[in-house]
Amino acid sequence: MDKILDVKNLGVSFHTYAGEVKAVRGINFYLNRGEALALVGESGCGKTVTAKSLMCLNPMPPAEIKDGSSIEYNGQEVLEMSKDELRAFRGAEISMVFQDPMTSLNPTMKIGDQIAESLTTHMKLNKKEALDKAVQMLERVGIPEAEERINSYPHEFSGGMRQRVMIAIALACNPRILIADEPTTALDVTIQAQVLELLKELQNEMGTSIILVTHDLGVVANFADRIHVMYAGKIVEKGTTRDIFYRGEHPYTWALLSSVPDLYAENRKKLYSLEGTPPDLLLPLEGCPFASRCKYCMQICREKMPPKTDINESHSVSCWLKHPSAPKVEKPHILRRDV
């Protein structure tokens, strides 16, 4: 396995009237070739900001990348790229699918032209070759009668179809990395399943690495190889999908897992719910950001940021419960089904 993307100590802040909002607070992660990585967390935890900064898409100002941050793509520093280098980098090497398929397509352009646009700029194809390739891509993402559909406008497509078109555009230049930011949140359950299946297929076929950003742990169970759980701009737990689902260690991971409703559970029983709201990222964080919502909060959690504890080489967690002096707590029911 070789790393295609290596993010070190990434910090992103937004300067607003009320002060500096530290949206991402020094996170480290890497992405292997051909791997699917999921960034999971609630809205406002900084997962979208992280995804966007990988492509330098955050508007600056008000955004600011903190000193000491580093994003290395194949050994090349993304944060130091010139405008031209960035333009060539985006689309060709790394591309992104957004949450809302209704607004991310240009309503006045034909679908075919929108797909061909990046092909003509990045792969230097002429118009005809690009349109041929566009038809291929549409067929590839499962749009029937692609030959005719390239002349359609976005409003003629349904939400699920538009998201497929978005995926076709993102993958047209065969990028090495695809960032999917909540690609299924705006879609119906049945369409959500189709789109995830499609992404998985394309990943295997084209060898693309995928970063999936989502708030729903349910959708990543069968999708991601590794999962990073984010809270208040920090990664609180990382591990393989099995580590997180069966051997999760952070109370926040437990809470996220427990809040997915269980189809087989008794009706109208009180659901597990994570009370409260995430902290305002405007505040300086002393101690663990999750402390104010954590059932297992200790005095130390309010005073000092927990250090990262490695469980094994792929699994690490930042929580004071892993400290030798901490009491042993029983994991919630949902994590105890594994052998």
């Binding site: 409260g276 709201t277 305002d280 405007l282 505040l283 200790m298 005095q299 130390i300 009491p327 707590v329």
Partner: protein, 307 residues
């Protein structure tokens, strides 16, 4: 000793739920937020300062000199600016400094009153048309289209014929009759969008009356764009007045306005350019300041730019 504190620190104390619901940011209303953004816009702030200065001068300006705006000093005709007559005198020997501010009152008054009246009428008209929709909307908007198609010059001439007077009143009336159509269309468009919003449907579900929905939900949510449109309308009205006075349909001597002064000065433009310069400068300054302020307000009040 040290060890016991460490152990105490590792006792589970749980969380108090109320803590995490607290909002730490200071509360900020829409208007406070807009003002904050406007304050950071230098161009808009300079425009405000210029406008305040102009308004203050139109109030106190005429009293700063020993002359009145009608007073003709025959031996001091067409004098260049000097310590006695700061902006010089016109061909009848009247002090231009005094007249500029006196005329400014008329121009400003027509601009501000005209824009407010037109916006008020347009707002109510557009609001009613959009909220009730259907046939009501169709008929009301056709009327607007007919009114828009009549040039306001014809309306002004008609009114001055009908009222048998040419002056501030008839100009104001004529400008108001034709001026509200733009605002009506703008407000109608906004309200058509707003009335489909869920908070309006929620109010309907609660049984809130139509009148209250218009005044409590729809108007406050269009107020931002109405204010912007007023600011952009004012220079339009000022210019219309200047134009009408310039072609002789406006304010009549000895009363004056910036347009009337410019009109009188153009005969002597070759010899006494300063007679045209000062009223023209005031017209330009006022219009520019209002337009720039309008730009700033639009940025400040646009909800899409809110963070």
């Amino acid at each position: 000793m040290a060890e016991t504190t460490v152990d105490e620190k590792f006792e589970i104390i749980g969380c108090e739920n109320s803590d995490s619901e607290k909002i730490v940011r200071p509360t900020m209303t829409y208007w406070q937020d807009a003002w904050r953004r406007l304050k950071s816009n230098n161009v808009a702030m300079i425009s405000i300062v210029i406008l305040i200065a102009l308004v203050v001068m139109t109030i106190i300006g005429p009293h700063l000199t020993p002359y009145t705006h009608e007073e003709m000093i025959v031996e001091e005709r067409n004098m260049a600016p000097s310590s006695e007559h700061w902006f010089g005198t016109d061909e009848l020997g009247r002090d231009i400094f005094t007249r500029v501010w006196k005329g400014g009152r008329v121009s400003m008054l027509i601009g501000v009153v005209g824009a407010f009246v037109a916006s008020f009428v347009g707002c109510i008209y557009g609001g009613i048309a959009a909220y009730f929709g259907g046939t009501v909307d169709d008929i009301m908007m056709r009327i607007v289209e007919i009114l828009v198609s009549i040039p306001y010059l014809i309306v002004v001439i008609l009114i001055s014929v009908l009222t048998r007077s040419k002056g501030m009143g008839s100009i104001l009336l004529a400008l108001c009759i034709t001026g509200w159509c733009g605002t009506a269309r703008l407000v109608r468009g906004q309200i058509l969008q707003l009335k489909e919003k869920e908070f309006v449907i929620a109010a309907k579900a609660l049984g809130v009356s139509d009148w209250k929905i218009i005044t409590r939900h729809l108007i406050p949510n269009t107020l931002g764009i109405i204010i912007v449109s007023i600011t952009f309308d004012i220079p339009g009205f000022i210019f219309s007045e200047a134009f009408l006075s310039y072609i002789g349909l406006g304010v009549q001597s000895p009363d004056t306005s910036w347009g009337a002064m410019a009109s009188a000065a153009q005969n002597n433009l070759m010899f006494y350019p300063y007679q045209l310069f000062f009223p023209a400068l005031m017209i330009a300054l006022t219009m520019l300041a209002f337009s720039l302020l309008g730009d700033g307000l639009r940025d400040a009040l646009d909800p899409r730019l809110r963070q």
